[in-house]
Amino acid sequence: MCTLEKRGNIFFLTLTGAGDKDDDEHRLGLPVISSLLSSLADVASQSTRGSVLITTARGKFFSNGFDLAWAQSAGPSSARHRLGQMVVASKPVVAAFLSLPMPTIAALPGLLLALGHDYVTMRGDRGVLYMSEVDLGLPLPDYFAAAFRAKIGSNSARKNVLLRGEEAVRMGIVESAHESAEVAVQMAEKLGERKWKGDVYAEIRMSLYPELCAVLGLAKVVPTAKL
């Protein structure tokens, strides 16, 4: 599931795996999604000037955001369907991150959730699994492509399976490939010192990624500039 704690101005959203059994809690299924959405709503409602969110993962939580084992365990034809389910279910989560009224830092290796954050740090020795490796014949969902274009740029598309920390830093996808916890906290403290107005922050962020927002259904929240 996920837990939420607050230390000073920083919200820590931690995705945890439950047991080591094949249960509902460690895949990005409906239970985790609704837990995430409700936590994000909590964070948004508690937002003040200088708030920052760090998202991390712990324990048995799947390394890439999707439970491939679960997807594949049902056999090849159902795998496609399960993966599709997870992709669709993740969309509102990415939308919630995109509209969150504070800077967001992902200190976790899952590409999907990482792309929904403003800044990403990751462990140097771990990697990020790209969707191209797990091509089960699914077309890339619309918001994946939009997120790639918005955050990475299509000319950085890689065919490699695994993108290790240093490469990701070089490609400009992640800020840092060190022991992510401290780096993320340092980054959060620096961002928090700016004491930005959360609603303005969210509007500028959404304006920066108009195509992604439209695909995520955030287009109704049209940012209006006074000038």
């Binding site: 990475i152 400009g172 930005w196 303005v200 500028i204 920066l208 108009p210 209006t224 000038l227």
Partner: protein, 233 residues
């Protein structure tokens, strides 16, 4: 407020005086009038335009004090900047900003709407201050910056983190083209660049047309504000 001179085939538009060159209707009208003169000259020969400024600031952005909370003033000011930038985009000759001082918010937008940006290395920075003063940035600002700056993270750092970016950093990040030590040297470098481009003997209307093609989405965003009556006047 601003002067227009010609050195050979290179026009130099200078925002004069020691102040912040805040973009209010008076200054914007003066700039627009200078652009009109350049446009006329560009129809008969190959020219280039350099825009620069005196003093510590290239431009510190909109004249927020002048606009205050008066919506009519705010609308007038912003519509004039949109009109000026649209003129820069359609100008039938190469444009180079010689940024000799700070360029903030709308002031950076004015610089970056030029084809090339040369900036002073030893003083001054680029600063999209809006996040720090709790102002939402209009969509056309984003469109313009993204049209010119390739790196998504550089754009994010500029727009969403309100970084103060020196000329050297700006070159590294692909935000501007060249960083030069000294104010006079910055202008000289821009003029040399302009002279090189003039030597290509391009047809002005073709140049302008190709630039419009490259910046089409930016013009679309600008024009979204002005379609309420459907009038193009």
């Amino acid at each position: 407020m601003c002067t227009l001179e010609k050195k050979g085939e290179v026009f130099i538009l200078t925002l004069t005086g020691p102040g912040e060159h805040r973009l209010n209707p008076t200054l914007l009208d003066a700039i627009q009038s200078a652009l009109n003169q350049v446009r006329v000259a560009a129809t008969s020969s190959s020219v280039a335009l350099i825009t620069t400024a005196h003093g510590k600031f290239f431009s510190n952005g909109y004249d927020l004090d002048w606009a205050g909370s008066d919506k009519l003033r705010g609308d007038l000011m912003t519509s004039k900047l949109r009109s000026v930038v649209a003129d820069f985009i359609t100008l039938p000759c190469p444009t180079i900003a010689a940024v000799t001082g700070h360029a903030s918010a709308a002031g950076f937008i004015l610089a970056r709407c030029h084809d090339y940006v040369v900036m002073r290395k030893d003083r001054g920075f680029i600063y999209m201050s809006e996040m720090d003063i709790a102002l939402v940035i209009p969509a056309w600002f984003h469109a313009l910056v993204k049209n010119k700056v390739g790196s998504a993270t550089a754009v994010r750092d500029l727009m969403l983190r309100a970084d103060k970016v020196t000329a050297e950093m700006a070159v590294e990040k692909g935000i501007i083209d060249l960083a030069v030590v000294g104010a006079e040297e910055t202008v000289e470098a821009a003029i040399r660049m302009g002279e090189e481009l003039v030597r290509r003997k391009w047809k002005g209307d073709v140049y302008g047309g190709n630039r419009v093609g490259l910046m089409w989405e930016v013009l679309e965003e600008i024009r979204k504000f002005d379609t309420s009556t459907g009038s193009r006047l």
